[in-house]
């Protein structure tokens, strides 16, 4: 369960006493309830599930995670596999 996708807040408005946003998901735009993230601002990203923004998406964290993945390979290419070294159990490195 829990199909949730990251979207960017385009507009915010009050509707029926409820804080609602227009959220863009890469060209697909839907109305989303902001009641659980009342301080989310236009331009920010949130994780949206069944029409509700449930958590702010931390863009800095996302960037760092991707950097880590990039480095994984680099480390491996440049210095050999770190865990392999750590575990002391040599395995065949696979070529791309």
């Amino acid at each position: 369960m829990c199909l949730a996708v990251p979207g960017r807040v385009m507009e915010i408005e009050e509707r029926d006493g409820t804080r609602m946003a227009v959220v863009d998901f890469g060209g697909v735009v839907k109305d989303v309830c902001l009641e659980y993230l009342p301080d989310l601002a236009v331009g920010e990203y949130a994780i949206v599930h069944v029409g509700f923004a449930l958590q702010r998406l931390d863009e800095e964290s996302a960037r760092r995670t991707l950097e880590l993945f990039e480095e994984l390979g680099l480390l491996q290419e440049e210095f050999g596999d770190p865990w392999e070294a750590a575990a002391g159990a040599p395995k065949e490195a696979e070529t791309k």
Binding site: L3, V22, G27, V29, H49
Partner: protein, 357 residues
């Protein structure tokens, strides 16, 4: 990965539905979804009742011989809601859907019939708008509406406008396009980006509305097919992946020809808006409907030239090789994923539903 060798091999010999229609004393929406339930209705109900040799061929259109002339003959009913959607209308679909089914036999549509089932109370202006769209689409496709019919049903027993068209066209000499002709080694080509029609319609469907800059790809494919046949009349299979999408079409071909099909997911042209709409709704673009695309099974030696001819045509500009036909896993379609894994692309059971998980 799980160790396949150590698994006891189940007996697959009797894997057909053991109790046909057992769960369906009544028709459910999925019986019209173009997937497994639709196929079951044809197999267990319609074919035994009125199927003959031509119907049994189960192509997009039937190839019949009349007065020494080979004709393609096809019908579809159109029940799309709403009647107008970004990029088209039920009138456009009623023309292009049938024109394209004829084109999948290699025929250029010559004449259409058109049956309107109107619900009492539908605005006559709306009927006129649909009729005008149908007329414009017919002119664009170069086909003439030759005969028609109108029925009115009581309010609450219809839904505004349903349409049926049937079409006939000549099949050129030497052309024999049938799903049964797919064979290992054939290259699988799709004529352009997929999923546009389905996403365009969903975006304006009541209760599901979302904003997206996507137009239905609804278009007549007769010209594209003629351009392909000009390269070689020896194409094996053409199919327009409408209801059930590319996934259903590939499965139908694999099943009819008893071949395996492998597609490389990364090669399948999926526009970002389609991918993103599917991501939100939990749908697979492979099962989303198209109305202006075809999938072709082309002998390997002609594949380059056919692809080139397709790309030179406006309705084939985005054509791409997406896979091939294999001897393995006959009747099944397998996708190589972007990551290098594989998955089975099954015939959808019924209609696609938004998921939450």
């Amino acid at each position: 990965m799980p160790d396949t060798d150590t698994l006891a091999a189940p007996d697959f010999s009797n894997w057909s539905c053991p109790l046909p229609l057992r769960d369906h004393p009544r028709v459910v929406m999925g019986h019209g979804g173009g997937g497994a339930l639709s196929a079951e209705l044809v197999e267990h109900v319609f074919a035994p009742a009125f199927g003959g040799p031509v119907l049994a061929a189960l192509g997009d259109s039937a190839a019949v011989t009349l007065g020494g002339v080979r004709l393609a003959f096809s019908t579809d009913s159109y029940v799309v809601r709403p009647l107008f959607f970004p990029g088209g209308s039920i009138g456009d679909l009623a023309v292009n859907g049938t024109v394209n089914d004829l084109a999948m036999s290699g025929a250029t549509a010559a004449y259409l019939s058109c049956g309107f089932i109107l619900e009492e109370g539908v605005e006559t202006a709306q009927v006129a708008r649909v009729a005008q769209a149908l007329g414009a689409a017919a002119r664009a496709a170069g086909v003439e509406v030759a005969t028609g019919d109108t029925k009115v049903v009581e309010a609450g027993r219809g839904d505004g406008i349903y349409l049926n068209t049937a079409g006939i066209g000549l099949i050129p000499a030497g052309v024999d396009l049938r799903p049964q002709r797919a064979e290992p080694g054939d290259v699988v080509i799709v004529s352009g980006p997929i999923g546009l029609h389905g996403v365009a319609v969903m975006s304006v469907r009541e209760g599901l509305e979302f904003g997206v800059d996507v137009q239905s790809d609804c278009a007549p494919l007769g010209g594209l097919v003629q351009a392909m046949l000009a390269v070689t009349p020896d194409l094996h299979v053409l199919r327009d992946p409408t209801r059930g999408g590319l996934g259903a079409s590939l499965n139908e071909i694999a099943a009819a020809a008893g071949v395996g099909v492998v597609v490389r997911e990364r090669s399948i042209p999926v526009p970002p808006e389609v991918a993103n709409a599917c991501a939100i709704l939990g749908l697979d673009p492979l099962y989303v409907a198209n109305e202006g695309k075809l999938v072709a099974f082309v002998p390997r030696q002609h594949a380059d030239a056919v692809l080139e001819a397709m790309r030179a045509h406006p309705y084939g500009a985005g054509a791409a090789v997406i896979g091939e036909c294999v001897t393995d896993h006959p009747g099944m379609v397998v996708a190589r994923t972007a990551l290098g894994g594989t998955r089975v692309v099954d015939l959808p059971v019924g209609e696609q539903l938004p998921r939450i998980c």
